[in-house]
Each structure stands twice: as structure tokens, then as C-alpha cells.
Symmetry: C2
DNA sequence: CCGCATCCTCTCTGATACTG
DNA sequence: CAGTATCAGAGAGGATGCGG
């Protein structure tokens, strides 16, 4: 019978999470942030070819959800550091888990795609 | 082995996976398919309020990647069954893993969102 | 150096209507 | 029952220029 006691809740939770990290850049930023602290343009280079705008938007979203911490230094020229919070780090672990599955199955999936001809 | 042997590859793999399951309905369909075989309209009710079109599109995508198997019975009225493949089932396990993280952190994230006012 | 504002395009999604 | 075709709206994402 039921392996999953509450399928509906599972779906909703996962969909919420995917709306968080399912966008184009969140995962890339999280991975590049890793355990290190990075400055804005440094991160931008690491996440190339991300645009300035999308890095800004993505970081703000992650910060909003408490996954990234933003530290402003009131110097000249200005300096802003970004780092994963503890919560962000735990998400990074989840992302690495996803990578494991993807790595194991990417070849088969590409194979399926190539073979598929619409039935 | 290293915690992060190849960050760049990790990002790409995860992004590819998210482009597969990051759409609005794939996860819902996969969850509802679970271990069971379902017919089209049955699945449609379970995935409500999905539209006919989106269920069709989503299933076709999943089938294309070998995650769902489509079985046509040449009867009248027509009957088509859908079920997860072994690959699809392994993905379902991954999705349940995501749900675990989401469940643990959804409250804190909502809290962060409510508190966040642009720093 | 850091980042916002504007505009614009392109994809995803949903509504609706039609077919075997 | 199980789809496909067409159209239209919404929103993500990219280009560019300005400001602190």
C-alpha cells in the first residue's frame, strides 16, 4: 500500500522548494558560494555568464529566504561580501544529493531523448 | 572522496535535472504516479487543477526521458495507462529526499521571508 | 565597485475548442 | 476516454544605461 503517507503535502513542499531553487541561477550561485565568502564581482565571474542584474536578483532572493548572508563594508570603493548561512549550507548538501542522482542518470536520459520519436 | 570534487560539473548536472523537474507539474505527476499505474483522466483528477493540455505535455516530456512508460490499449473507448519506469521510481526517491529538507526548513524560510525588509 | 531601473523578448502556462 | 490545435496572458530573464 502506501509508501508515502501524505503525498499531497510532499508535492506541495517539493514544489515550493523547486520554486526557490528551480530558477536559472540559484543553484549555480549556491554552489559557487560553497563554504567561501565571495564579493559581488568575484561571484559574477564564477557564475559566468550570469548578468549583473540576475546575480543581484538571485542573491536578493536567497538573502530573503535566509540562505545567504550579505555583509556591507562602508569603504571606498564599496565592498559587499556574500556567504551561505547555516541553512544555505544544508541546502548545498541537498543540492549535492541531486547531483548524485543526475550524474548517475544523465547518460540514460540523454539516450532516451535521442531515441524517442514521439511513439 | 572530496566533498566538492568538481563544482562546475555539479552545477551543470543539477541545472539539467532542475530543468527536467523544475517545471510546474512534473513533480506532481511523478508523486501521483507513485508506484501505481494510472489512466489519463484518473491522473488528471489526482493532479488537479492541472489542465488537460499540461498533463499531456508533462507526460510526454517524462516519457521522452524514460521516466514514465505509456501503454496504449486499442479498445473502445480508448485506454492509456501511465506508470513510472524504474528510472522514474529512483527519481521519486530523490524527490522524497527533497521533501525531507523542505519539510525541515519551510517554517524558517517563511519566517525569514516575513522578517526580510530589504536589510 | 556595487547595484538599481527600464525596456524588451521569449518561454511557460492556461483557456478554449476540436478530433479519433 | 484521450488527446491535439490555437490563441493569449504572465512572468522570467537578458541588454543597456544611470547612480551611489
Amino acid at each position: 500500500m502506501a509508501i508515502a503517507p501524505d503525498e499531497a503535502a510532499t508535492q506541495t513542499l517539493v514544489r515550493d522548494l523547486l520554486e526557490r531553487i528551480g530558477d536559472k541561477w540559484s543553484v549555480v550561485v549556491i554552489c559557487q558560494l560553497g563554504g567561501s565568502t565571495r564579493r559581488f564581482n568575484e561571484l559574477r565571474r564564477l557564475c559566468a555568464p550570469i548578468t549583473q542584474r540576475m546575480l543581484s536578483v538571485t542573491l536578493r532572493g536567497l538573502e530573503r529566504d535566509g540562505l545567504v548572508r550579505r555583509t556591507v563594508f562602508d569603504t571606498k570603493p564599496p565592498r559587499v561580501d556574500y556567504a551561505l548561512t547555516a541553512r544555505g549550507l544544508s541546502l548545498l548538501a541537498v543540492v549535492r544529493g541531486l547531483a548524485g542522482w543526475a550524474e548517475s542518470h544523465v547518460d540514460e536520459i540523454l539516450e532516451s531523448r535521442a531515441t524517442f520519436d514521439g511513439d
